[in-house]
Symmetry: C3
Subunit: 310 residues, 3 copies
């Protein structure tokens, strides 16, 4: 690891391409022989600080830490001093005073992870496990890891990203990571109210384009990532009913036939079957959805090692 050291991991935009590739290489290496790193961070302390409910991400970081021999403690906003009027900054300083090596944060407000990273002591590494619609960079890592395993070099990836792009931190982080790593093309597709704003789209650069029809978007694609409607993060926007949504925007077997023969399917989970994805696709031979979860464990082990050992 001859990359410049990375103190925090709050947004893929803060990492160099070299750091991101080093992270992915390390994740692959751990996936190939997970036992080789058992207890390699023995005695280090990881605190999971979660202000939003989470099963997969919290558990993934917890298991990643424990597999590496770390001490892990979970703190959730419920049952916490938040209720007694303490500010987020003070809660963070309190936790930091207990000398953790790493604080993994999930929070409903965008920018919280970067904000707390700026408050962090030199000995503390902050990892963003999702902050509002801003970023979910460890999810982006595992998505990229999974795509590279399936399709090889990023330069040959033509990815459809469909669903609620606008409110998805996964979309935001994955687009950033994949374009940084040189993906050939990202085709965004979804109801107009879920598409990125024109301004945002301009920022994303020429390799990202919008398709109005899912049928058009999948033509010639070799990867499709479906996204959930983020009901908990939107309000004041009309959402189509589940059936209507599925007819119009749900990924079904017929779409896979239109796509290339080796086209793979991803979903960050949790899935709403029969809404954004049909069960025949989610459980079909091209689905990498469970592989994503497994890779998530390895990607987070890699991330913890990279931050704490470089």
């Amino acid at each position: 690891m001859n990359q410049p050291a990375l103190q925090h991991f709050t947004d893929v935009a803060e990492c160099t391409p070299e750091q991101l590739l080093a992270l992915l290489d390390l994740a692959d290496q751990i996936a190939a022989d997970p036992e080789a790193v058992t207890n390699s961070l023995s005695g280090r302390l990881l605190v999971n600080l979660f202000y939003e409910p989470s099963t997969r991400t919290r558990l993934s970081f917890e298991v990643a830490g424990k597999r590496l021999g770390m001490l892990v403690a979970n703190v959730s906003a419920t049952g916490s001093s938040v209720e007694k009027g303490e500010t987020l900054d003070d809660t963070f300083h309190t936790i930091q005073a207990m000398a953790p090596d790493c604080v993994v944060l999930r929070h409903p407000d965008p920018g919280t992870a970067k904000h707390l990273a700026n408050l962090a002591a030199d000995s503390v590494h902050v990892i963003n496990a999702g902050d509002g619609i801003a970023a979910h960079p460890s999810q982006a890592l595992l998505d990229a890891m999974t795509l590279r395993q399936a399709l090889g070099d990023f330069a040959g990836i033509r990815l459809v990203m469909a669903g609620d792009i606008r409110h998805s931190r996964v979309a935001r982080s994955s687009i950033r990571l994949l374009t940084t790593l040189g993906v050939e093309e990202i085709r965004i597709c979804g109801p107009r109210q879920f598409q990125p704003t024109a301004e945002r789209l301009a920022e994303l650069g020429p390799r990202v384009s919008v398709f109005e029809q899912l049928e058009d978007a999948v033509d010639g694609a070799n990867a499709i990532m479906m996204l959930r409607i983020q009901k908990e993060r939107i309000s004041g926007i009309e959402i189509p009913g589940a059936d209507e949504y599925h007819q119009r925007w749900g990924l079904r077997a017929e779409h896979l036939e239109m796509a290339g023969p080796n086209c793979v399917v991803l979903h960050p989970g949790p899935m709403n079957r029969g809404v954004e994805i049909a069960s025949e696709v989610a459980d079909g031979p091209r689905s990498l959805i469970r592989r994503q979860v497994r890779n998530g464990l390895y990607a987070r082990m890699a991330l913890l090692k990279y931050l704490m050992e470089s």
Copy 2:
């Protein structure tokens, strides 16, 4: 352990008598020298997946796992992706993708444990920690262990099981286990609406009979197991008031005088004192209630070792 290997533990009905006896022997062996097995499952991962509140069972499995050196992570339905519309199967597959060695499940719906065991990868062992009114087999193990310690051979046990039999997964599993192991007699006793159905009773075989009066049931018994009213699992059934219930069906000192002089008392907990059991009995010299909890720890350590090492 020359028994056929056991992959899952979802219902005692799925185990051979030899397997059940091997489990009980192993539990006794661990009880005699718990330190001998410390860290013997070091580095294995146990996930407690609880869809119902629980103190004793969740804690018992957590401590059992940790005593054996396992990594333990708790997942509860509250604060989970259940709220985001994920199906139980998908939640299970997600957890399974993180490569646990064992998933301990509690769920309100009968049959859930067996259902998930059928979805499990070869490397994953599913343990039922209570699924609706269906089964609670690790509780049955600790009950049998406790009875055998106190009374010796199963062939000499004459057990009264009183209270809400119909809605009790503990009763269901314990009756099955004890009849499999050759208990002499099980006398069921409780309000009519809490007795097993006639059909169910026929299945239970000739060693299980129903008594209308607690006074009659305890006569000549050498063990009495009291059960709680499962308020959280019944609806539309009239439940007597606490005082009325206690007068009619509560175990009191006078009942112990009617029973044999060495008659012991069990209760799976949590107890409702003054309802199904009087404090003088719960705290009296014949009570094995705390011993049951201690044995529960050893029985679960035995179970984890048996599943993972055989």
Copy 3:
């Protein structure tokens, strides 16, 4: 450690001055070299039994235990058998039957910790992590540790304790501990409805006095401990609005100017900024508030070692 062994830690009033000083010395020793005690309680079991929400105290005990190599399990009243009607005593006996070495208890009712300590088996150590308005002795330990580090000998400490003294278990335990250790003077200050009763004040002895004005109290003080309004533990008492409270009783920079030049500031947290303390003070150079949290970790490590090794 040639002090008489301490079985439980439920109230500083139960400890001799020698025991308290031994605890503080051990805490300082651990603070100087925390790694020296890593895993020194390996394999021991700590159960955090929390009937009230808590971030800092629960996490502090959890991290303290884990740093010492203990197995730690958390039990909270939510999601527990409390809901099924089990008594506190029975829950304690259930947990105790799982052979913990230490039970750390937080409970809303005063006296609960001492009550459960009386039920404890010889092998179990009960630590009070706050019981109603009665006591919070580990907080008192860390406060005394922090004051001694900053000001040297207790005999020279002139401490202002301001805010809701009457309903504060922190105040109760700290006053007891500091007067036992020979603090020179404690000046209590706060709204009349938050001052100790006359009877209570008489018990506290001649070194504790009441000041009506914060301005008068801070004059010549070398330490100021601000306390939060315990909204969750009072009812039927009129509480001033936040702004009014801050004007009258909030600690501001002007008060530090009135106090001695080396006067330090403590707060047990969680803080309500702009109410009992101004941010300029909380974050200023004289604030020891984060040091208190760090010391809390070391004080609790010392406490666990002292109870379990002496």
